[in-house]
């Protein structure tokens, strides 16, 4: 076998990856939705990275006034506490900044697992057919029969309350949508000429599946991924709000729970419970915007 033959596929693969990245980039520039979404993501990543430098206080530390009294319910606009303090004297602005970290952490890891499992199940089911497909698709049906939020609640209550268990619970259920969509996509790809050509030239099944078919469904996985980030952040917030979250981590959901439990609603402390909600909305909607931008490219029919 000559060196030429050995290097050819790698070169082609490199080109394909570059082409795909180029396409992603082109979408971001062309579509206003995708652009805004990406900018919001970039801003939040920067905030998460710089949180320790930007936050005036430790988010969990109880603050005291100069008089030595507990700095509880300090109104917003204070020089040292721009968004005021909680009823236990914690700095709201610092909590908001640190909340970015847990939101992105949960959002990105959960989305990764959800999409990785979903794509793999969809690829294998669609390509293998036969009993493998039947088994995988029945598993998907079962995942669709599980009430998502109650399942996450029960699992995080039974296991240790930690972010990782929330991520685990989400990964166990949410792959279902991606799996179904990817499978139906693979069913049509399987019959296409380039797959036939690869089969005729003696490519192995894993090779056809992962080198020829997978790159064609990846944009779709990416689409589901950007939606899954939002879902994961919303879910983590709901779980923390219900009191089953990770108490060692500052999160927007936990902030909202704290505010709710501390009568912030009846006291009209809008500066406490509005900012975390707005932050959640921004991150989640950024994912929707990005996915929408890609949808217009993937399904151009809608753009007519």
């Amino acid at each position: 076998m000559s060196a030429d033959v050995l290097t050819a596929p790698t070169a082609r693969r490199g080109g394909r990856v570059r082409a795909m990245l180029g396409r992603l980039f082109a979408v971001v520039l062309k579509d206003r939705f995708a652009l805004v979404g990406t900018l919001i993501y970039v801003a939040f990543v920067l905030l998460a990275a710089l949180a320790p430098a930007l936050a005036p206080h430790d988010p969990m530390e109880i603050q005291f006034l100069e008089s030595g009294r507990l700095a509880r319910n300090v109104p917003p606009g204070d020089a040292s506490h721009p968004l005021g303090t909680t009823s236990l004297g914690r700095d709201i602005y610092s909590q908001l900044l640190y909340g970015t970290r847990s939101a992105l952490l949960v959002g990105v890891t959960a989305a990764f697992f959800v999409v990785a499992i979903g794509t793999l199940v969809g690829l294998v089911a669609g390509y293998a057919g036969g009993w493998i497909e039947v088994v995988l698709m029945r598993l998907t049906d079962i995942a669709f029969g599980i009430p998502f939020l109650p399942f996450v609640i029960i699992l995080s209550a039974f296991l240790e309350p930690s972010v990782w268990n929330i991520v685990l619970a989400m990964s166990l259920v949410l792959w279902r949508d991606t799996a179904r969509v990817i499978r139906s996509q693979v069913l049509t790809l399987r019959e296409r000429a380039f797959v036939e050509a690869a089969r005729v030239t003696g490519s192995s099944h894993p090779r056809i599946l992962f080198m020829h078919i997978a790159p064609n469904v990846l944009p779709l996985s990416f689409l589901y991924g950007s939606i899954a980030v939002g879902w994961a952040i919303l879910t983590e917030a709901s779980i923390s709000f219900l009191g089953f979250g990770d108490a060692t981590i500052v999160s927007w959901g936990a902030m909202l729970q704290d505010a709710y439990q501390s009568q912030a609603l009846s006291l009209g402390m809008y500066h406490w419970f509005v900012p975390p909600g707005v932050a959640i909305v921004l991150v989640v909607v950024a994912g929707f915007f990005i996915s929408r931008g890609y949808e217009e490219i993937l399904f151009p029919k809608l753009k007519e």
Partner: protein
């Protein structure tokens, strides 16, 4: 007919699988598995009676058979906390959850469907450019946070609506129906239903809009245009009727998923429903009640998915069922 049979079989299979997963979660969790059914505060006779009813002194596979048998007979055990049969507790709150879900979905789907038609009509205008990001934003907002905002403004600040519960304390009614139709109940229902509807209306709206745009490409619409019918008549009488079908199925699926997702809204508004019952049961380690509430929610989801599927194939004869 064969389709109906195989889809029914699939539904029963999924129900069985979910029940089995739940059995495994509750028996294999850390700690004494017996604890899942028996509260240490029960008297010795009560403990013995429960042990026998659920076969907790027997091997796992026998317990499993007994568990399924009990499920089929509708026996979900007794709540630790309330000292009452789980089924009775669930049926007490179930109507509240159904009322909240249906009311919210009706508002959401009415607004969403009409909004979708209007947006399809305004395709390419500035209104579309403003509305679509706004609608996407409502879908990105956590339901419980929307609920908190509504509570802070309309209940605590303005005092227009009560801050929680389904009825005022001390209110009594002749019947369940009289309770549901009372002004008191509707006043309590309004804020939680609105919060849910704000979250839920985006799906039918976007779905209706894109279906409308699809249908408008079809031949019969061109035909209607050639007949000289007005734009609005074509939109409502011809396109909307055909675009409505996926929205109807989404409604059926939505009932199932909303009941599962209601846990947070019910908690924010202290709405005495199934979701809040589940959250409180899990917090209080009331395992039989948590398990029962979970199963009922799962059953609603599975049945609604089945109904949606059937509706889809009945209403649209073009749908081919290859699966």
């Amino acid at each position: 007919m064969r389709r109906l049979g195989s889809r029914l079989a699939q539904m029963v299979f999924v129900l069985w699988a979910v029940a089995t997963i739940l059995f495994l979660i509750f028996r294999l969790m850390p700690g004494n598995p017996l604890a899942a059914y028996i509260d240490p505060n029960f008297t010795v006779e009560q403990q013995r009676e429960l042990m026998q009813r659920f076969g907790l002194d027997r091997p796992l596979h026998e317990q499993y058979v007994l568990y399924l048998g009990n499920l089929l007979r509708g026996d979900l055990g007794d709540s630790f906390f309330y000292r009452a049969p789980v089924t009775k507790l669930i049926w007490e709150v179930f109507p509240n959850t159904i009322a909240l879900t249906l009311f919210a979905l009706l508002i959401a789907y009415t607004v969403g469907t009409l909004g979708g038609i209007v947006l399809a009509w305004l395709r390419g205008t500035w209104v579309e450019g403003v509305t679509i990001p706004l609608v996407l934003t409502t879908r990105a907002a956590p339901e419980f946070w929307l609920g908190m905002l509504l509570l802070a403004v309309f209940s605590f600040n303005l005092g227009w609506f009560p801050s929680g519960g389904a009825n005022s304390a001390g209110a009594s009614f002749d019947s369940e129906l009289a309770r549901f139709l009372s002004l008191d109940f509707l006043r309590h229902l309004f804020l939680p239903a609105t919060a849910l509807a704000i979250y839920l209306h985006g799906l039918p709206l976007l779905l209706m809009r894109s279906n409308m745009l699809d249908v408008l490409q079809e031949d019969f619409v061109t035909m209607a245009k050639m007949k000289g019918l007005s734009h609005w008549t074509i939109l409502v009488r011809h396109a909307a009727r055909n675009a409505l079908l996926p929205v109807v199925t989404a409604f059926a699926v939505g009932i199932g998923y909303s009941i599962g997702g209601n846990v947070v809204i019910e908690t924010v508004f202290s709405w005495p429903g199934l979701g809040r019952l589940l959250v409180r049961a899990v917090s209080a380690s009331d395992y039989p009640l948590a398990q029962g509430a979970f199963l009922v929610i799962a059953a609603v989801i599975v049945v609604m998915n089945f109904i949606a599927d059937m509706l889809y194939s009945t209403l649209d004869p073009r749908v081919a069922h290859e699966r």
